[in-house]
Amino acid sequence: MQELPEYLSVLKSRFGDRIEEIHAQHDDATAVVKRDAIVEVCAWLRDDEKTLFDLFLDLTAVDYIGRKPRFEVVIHLVSIPFRHRLRLKVRLDEDDPVMPTIIPVYPASNWFERECWDLYGIKFDGHPDLRRMFLQETFVGHPLRKDYPIAKRQPLIELRKSEVRRNDESVEPRPA
């Protein structure tokens, strides 16, 4: 077990119970944060003199289907003055995939949150404009969820002919 970086233990001692878990193996400092504390944690990490995580890198989600809680929102932060990296995780339940927006702290997360809503169906409470980011407005479902049917197609226009599927049994297999 690698020694915890200082900013991680400081974070844990500052927020106590509201940080569910911390670990840092192979230099990936990670803190699992409770949903209600995430905005406060981000604001503190950005502003405190010992951490200064001023660069928001990424926000995405993971679908651990079959596990409870099912979703995990992952946020990556970088401190430019200290050259530190930190990963924050928020676990969300399948029945209530809602998380407070972190736009007030990191305005850059706006489109990341829209992407996350588009592909994973995770809602961000307080987001000013939570529309789909990439897919068409008429798209049904959230395709990066593991239970989205792999063969489902949602074309916008009528196709000239039907798609030939590799698994189609009506297609004769090629002789070996």
Partner: protein, 162 residues
């Protein structure tokens, strides 16, 4: 062409004019660039100095109104399919389509699981020449133009092909 189409057989006027027209069309194919993904890089390389499409009389056009061939170079997404068909219809006839790369032939790596990719541009518009590769080398695209030239040489104004 509707005045002539289907009315005449291969008589001396029709076949002689065909030769002239097909020579002209085949020798100066003006493609509309439709770079959608990494294939566009190879398409640009084909047009640039090393391979130089200009020496075949092939000049890239920025607008469909001036083009008679469309190179679909890259992944056609569901949202782009609508625009692609519209641009195709904006091209004056006669017009041809080259499907460049695995994605525009069959969906490529997004064949099975891609929720956002059209599984082949021939589901949207008719395709004349398919260029396999991921992405195809510039030589392959050059070969596609030569194949297209052969195909154009067989056309006749008396009968619409395909």
């Amino acid at each position: 062409m509707s005045l002539i189409e289907g009315r005449y057989g291969p008589n001396i006027v029709i076949t002689s004019l065909d030769k002239v027209f097909n020579w002209g069309r085949g020798s100066s194919v003006w493609p509309m660039t439709f770079g959608l993904a990494c294939c566009a890089i190879e398409m640009m390389a084909t047009a640039a100095s090393r391979f130089d499409l200009d020496r075949y009389g092939i000049f890239m056009r920025p607008t469909p109104r001036q083009a008679d061939c469309m190179i679909v170079a890259g992944t056609v997404s569901v949202k782009m399919a609508e625009r692609l068909r519209r641009l195709y219809h904006q091209m004056p006839e006669p017009r041809w389509v080259i499907a460049m790369g695995s994605c525009s032939i069959s969906g490529g790596p997004y064949w099975e699981g891609g929720y956002h990719v059209v599984k082949g541009v021939d589901l949207i518009i008719p395709v004349d020449v398919y260029v396999p590769g991921c992405p195809p080398r510039p030589e392959a695209l050059l070969d596609a133009f030569l194949t297209l030239k052969e195909k154009i040489a067989k056309e006749t104004m008396a009968k619409k092909l395909a």
